[in-house]
C-alpha cells in the first residue's frame, strides 16, 4: 500500500463518516459543521486525482461560500438548534426505493466506467479511434507516473488558464454575463424584501398597524 492509497482511504473515511454524521445528527448546527469535513475530504480526493483546479474550486465555493450560506440559514431561524431534525422524516418506503435505485445506478456506472490507473498508459487503452488518440497524445509515452516524472506536473490550473485565454475565450466572457445575471437576480430579491418590510408600517393600512 503506497502513501497514495493510505491518503485516499484516509480522505474516503473522513468523507463517509462526516457525511453519515450530517444525515444522522440530531443537532442541525453539528450537521452543518460536519459538512465542512465532507467538503474538505472531497477536495482531498480531487487532489489525489490530480485535479488541483477542481480541488481549489471545491474549497473556495463549497467551503467558503455554500457552507457559510447553510450556517447562515441555520442562524437565521430562532431556536432551530434544539429541534430534532430527524422527526421530520416521512415516506420511508419510497425514499428507500429511490435511494436503492440510485445506489444500483452508481454501482453500475462505477463498475462499467473506464478507470485510468496512475501506473497505466491511458492513451493506449482508450476506447476511441486509435488515430485520434495518437494525434491528441503524441508527445506522451509511458504510464501516467512516467510522464509526470519526465515532464513534471504543472497542475491543471495553468492548462485551464491557457485554454480560457485562447480557445475558450467566448465562453469565458459569456460566463461573466451569466454571473452578472445572477447578481441582478440577487439584487431583485433583496429589493423585494425591502418593499415587503415597509408595508406593515405604511399609514395607508391602519388596520394592520392597530393590530
Amino acid at each position: 500500500m503506497s502513501i497514495f492509497d493510505i491518503l485516499f482511504y484516509l480522505f474516503a473515511a473522513a468523507i463517509v463518516l462526516s457525511a453519515a454524521f450530517v444525515s444522522l445528527s440530531r443537532n442541525i448546527v453539528h450537521a452543518a459543521f460536519s459538512l465542512l469535513f465532507t467538503f474538505l475530504g472531497i477536495a482531498g480526493v480531487y487532489v489525489l486525482l490530480s485535479a488541483d483546479f477542481i480541488a481549489v474550486s471545491q474549497i473556495l465555493i463549497y467551503v467558503g461560500g455554500i457552507l457559510v450560506l447553510i450556517v447562515f440559514g441555520v442562524m437565521l431561524t430562532n431556536r432551530v438548534t434544539n429541534i430534532d431534525i430527524r422527526a421530520a422524516i416521512r415516506s420511508r418506503i419510497p425514499a428507500f426505493i429511490i435511494c436503492a435505485g440510485l445506489l444500483a445506478l452508481l454501482i453500475a456506472f462505477i463498475t462499467q466506467a473506464h478507470w485510468i490507473r496512475y501506473d497505466e498508459e491511458p492513451w493506449k487503452k482508450t476506447p476511441w479511434g486509435k488515430n485520434a488518440v495518437e494525434q491528441v497524445t503524441k508527445p506522451l509515452q509511458g504510464s501516467v507516473r512516467e510522464v509526470i516524472d519526465q515532464q513534471g506536473s504543472q497542475g491543471t490550473a495553468a492548462e485551464i488558464g491557457k485554454l480560457l485565454m485562447s480557445d475558450y475565450m467566448l465562453p469565458f466572457e459569456l460566463l461573466s454575463i451569466v454571473l452578472l445575471v445572477a447578481l441582478i437576480g440577487a439584487a431583485m430579491i433583496a429589493r423585494q424584501e425591502a418593499v415587503q418590510k415597509k408595508r406593515p408600517l405604511s399609514p395607508s393600512l391602519p388596520t394592520e398597524v392597530s393590530q
Binding site: F53, V56, M75, G155, G161, I177, L179
Partner: protein
Amino acid sequence: MLSNYIPIVLMMVIAIGFGILMANLSKWLGPKRPNFQKLSTYESGMIPVGTTRERVSVKYYVVGMLFIIFDIELVFLYPWAVTFDKVGAFAIGEMFLFIVLLFIGYIYILKKGALEWD
C-alpha cells in the same frame, strides 16, 4: 506530484496547531484565582444582555449570495493568474473585460441598495 502539496499541508498543520496552542497556553501557564467578576461572561467590559442565540438579519443571506458570485469570479481569476504572463497583453485585456462586466453588476446592486442595512 503529491510533494507539491506538502507546503499546503504544513501550513494547515501549523495554523491548526497554533490555534490550539494559543487557546490553551494561557490555561496551562496562567495562575487561576477565579472570582465572580472573572467568571462572568466577557463582553468587552459591558454587562452582557440576553442569550448568545441571536437571530441574524435575513440581509446577511443576500450578502452571502452576492459573496458566492464574487467567489466564483475569484475561482476564474486563479487559472488566469497562473498563466497571464505567458499569454501576454491579450490575457490582461480579456480579464479586464470580465471584471468590468462584473463591476457593472456591483454598481447595479450598490445603486439598488442591496447592500444597505435598512
